[in-house]
């Protein structure tokens, strides 16, 4: 590690310590923080729920970071893919009567093929071009997806009433069943993807391409095929994210943009192309939002501000994110 790296890391640690203690300080000042068992129960619930939520966000953020890492493309339609996943699950649930988790077996292959087709038709041509080209191409794609969805499903909100009960952890800490289930599935899927990238031949080829596409090509890796698989995988992760989101929250065709922004924030926090970083980034983001909302007066109105401030400061202090990814 170079000296400037170490210095940046210290700065980052200081900043994070400040950022996460600020809500406590403000809460104490306004008397919103109390020192009793029940209040600690509320705090623990918020933190725990943040962790569970962060895991799900991280899973679809990994899809974004994968495309970004391998092809240097910012996929502005990622949230719309999440939205597509939510609708696919909804269709399976209400029209075909499938369990939302079982329907993943059906929707994930569909999503993978969608990603491959997208790569073939659109993205292959914009790899290596200035970032604006890819941003606009994917943004336009996202808009098209939104309005096609409006045409099919209207702008009415949908939800899927699945596992609505609660899980009692201690006498003061409770979390939702669907949150626990979503988190577990997210961990299994992201764990699977992680192992695939670390251990399998194909996964190693993807990582090699991410490090340096030209060198990979020289080594005999079929880079274009790697691109196809990467986008397929990313789309599958987004759709899986959509399925997990759909059993927790309401959605309509226009909700995708929230998830795009969330995923951007997470991969910036974690560091481009860094999978464990995405997990940490996801949890950090969700926990900070919870703390701000819980302790600052009218703090719920400010959680987006907290998220973007965190992102921009991390980016400025250490462009490589928490994990200090190089070449940022």
């Amino acid at each position: 590690m170079e000296r400037s790296d170490v210095r940046n890391l210290y700065r980052l640690a200081l900043f994070l310590a400040f950022a996460y203690s600020l809500p406590f300080a403000i809460g104490l000042w306004y008397g919103a923080v109390r020192v009793d068992e029940r209040w600690f129960g509320y705090l623990a619930t918020v933190v725990l729920s943040g962790i569970l939520q962060g895991g799900v966000y991280a899973m679809f953020a990994v899809g974004l970071t994968l495309i970004f890492g391998v092809m240097r493309i910012i996929n502005a339609a990622h949230g719309e893919m999440v939205m597509m996943g939510a609708y696919l699950t909804w269709v399976c649930f209400f029209l075909l009567g499938f369990d939302p988790l079982l329907s993943l077996l059906l929707t994930l292959p569909v999503a993978f093929l969608f990603g491959v087709a997208l790569q073939k038709v659109l993205l292959q041509a914009v790899v290596g071009q200035p970032e604006l080209t890819a941003l606009l191409v994917t943004f336009g794609l996202g808009l098209t997806m939104i309005y096609v969805a409006e045409l099919i499903f209207t702008t009415d909100f949908r939800t899927i009433p699945y596992a609505p009960g609660s899980v009692q952890i201690t006498s003061t800490i409770t979390v939702g069943q669907n949150k626990v289930i979503s988190f577990a599935i997210a961990v299994v899927i992201s764990g699977g993807v992680y192992l695939f990238l670390k251990l399998s031949r194909l996964g190693k080829a993807i990582r090699a391409t991410a490090l340096n596409a030209e060198v990979a090509m020289v080594c005999g890796i079929a880079v274009r095929r790697i691109y196809l698989i990467t986008t397929g995988l990313a789309a599958a992760l987004a759709v899986a994210g959509g399925a997990l989101v759909s059993i927790q929250f309401g959605f309509n065709p226009e909700t995708g943009v929230v998830y795009t922004l969330q995923a951007f924030t997470i991969i910036i926090l974690g560091g481009r192309g860094h999978y464990v970083g995405a997990l940490i980034g996801g949890v950090m983001l969700a926990v900070l939002e919870g703390l701000v909302s819980l302790m600052i007066p009218n703090g719920t109105a400010m959680i987006e501000l907290a998220a973007y401030t965190l992102m921009i400061f991390v980016l400025l202090i250490r462009p490589g994110g928490l994990m200090g990814v190089k070449d940022a």
Partner: protein, 312 residues
């Protein structure tokens, strides 16, 4: 480019300005509004082009300055009883200050990181406008007293557009512009040649912040009601980028052509085909970005319809 060519271009601009200035009485109120908004998008696209086209730093949050301008104007007129025109100067000043404050740290980031940071900054600004109740009335928005303003806003926007074109033209043909291009092509090399890249980038960024703020102020006065989601609207940034790209970013004439064409096309299609129009708009963005990365101007140059120097 020769002196006479510059003079000819300036004369053409003067004629355009004169014609547009004399036009309003002949136009219906609706056409006046349409022309005003078209000119507004010319201003937005051209300003965006200074930082993102000339300098190569893709700003995905330029709507920040438009929103700040709109709010500066609305707050001063509605809450402090200012007359409207002076508030535009304040809007420009505030935007320049915010531009410096944001630009100084964020311009250190490169490529996609800069784009995302700007996007985050724009969303953050929208939240600030929503949360800072005492200043902005938050989600309630600000309403102006109702006045007849279609000619005043038209003229103001026309003046702003001519000024923006002049400035963009001057930048494009000056040493300043050449250095910005050098930064876009290879920042490290530019630095090695002794260009103070930080100062140049910051100057370009601040310059590109001022005009959208004034445009925001004028449009706020035109629409007479603003709230955070309508002025910090991500689609406005997209429109700036798309219009520049459609015409040809990095040139002066490109963003102008792109803004006029795209805005007119949208106006003509949406009324008749609501949802289909939006799908078409999405596909259009995809196609332009995919097949015409150098825009209509680049397209024309490739086919020998225009000489490279002439269209810049």
């Amino acid at each position: 480019m020769t002196r006479s060519e510059h003079l000819r271009n300036l004369a053409a601009l003067a004629v355009l300005g004169l014609v547009l200035a004399l036009l309003p009485p002949a136009l219906s109120v609706y056409l006046r509004s349409f022309a005003m908004f078209t000119m507004m998008y010319v201003v937005l696209a051209l300003s965006w082009n200074i930082i993102s086209g000339f300098t190569g730093y893709t700003s995905f949050g330029h709507v920040i300055f438009y929103g700040i301008g709109a709010y500066a104007c609305a707050i001063l007129v509605a809450d402090h009883g200012w007359p409207w025109l002076p508030t535009l100067a304040v809007a420009a000043g505030v935007a320049a200050a915010v531009g410096l404050a944001i630009g100084y740290p964020v311009l250190r980031l490169k490529g996609p990181y800069f784009a995302i940071a700007m996007l985050g900054a724009a969303e953050g600004m929208r939240v600030i406008a929503t949360v800072w109740d005492g200043l902005t009335h938050g989600g309630l928005g600000i309403s102006f007293p109702s006045v007849e303003n279609s000619i005043a806003t038209y003229r103001a926007m026309l003046g702003l557009m001519l000024l923006t074109i002049l400035v963009a033209y001057a930048v494009g043909h000056s040493r300043f512009g050449i250095r910005l291009n050098a930064i876009r092509e290879d920042e490290v090399a530019a630095e090695a040649l002794g260009i103070n890249t930080t100062a140049y980038k910051l100057a370009a960024f601040t310059l590109s912040a001022v005009f959208p703020a004034v445009a925001g102020g004028i449009q706020a006065y035109k629409v007479l009601y603003i709230d955070p989601p309508s002025v910090f609207f991500v689609q406005i940034t997209i429109a700036m980028a798309l219009m520049s790209m459609l015409g040809g970013k990095g040139t002066v004439i490109g963003p102008i052509v792109g803004a006029v064409l795209l805005y007119t096309a949208q106006e003509l299609t949406w009324v008749n085909f609501p949802t289909a129009h939006l799908i078409a708009y999405g596909l259009f963005i995809v196609l332009v970005a995919r097949f015409m990365p150098r825009g209509l101007v680049g397209f024309a140059i490739d086919r020998g319809w225009a000489r490279k120097g002439m269209v810049h």
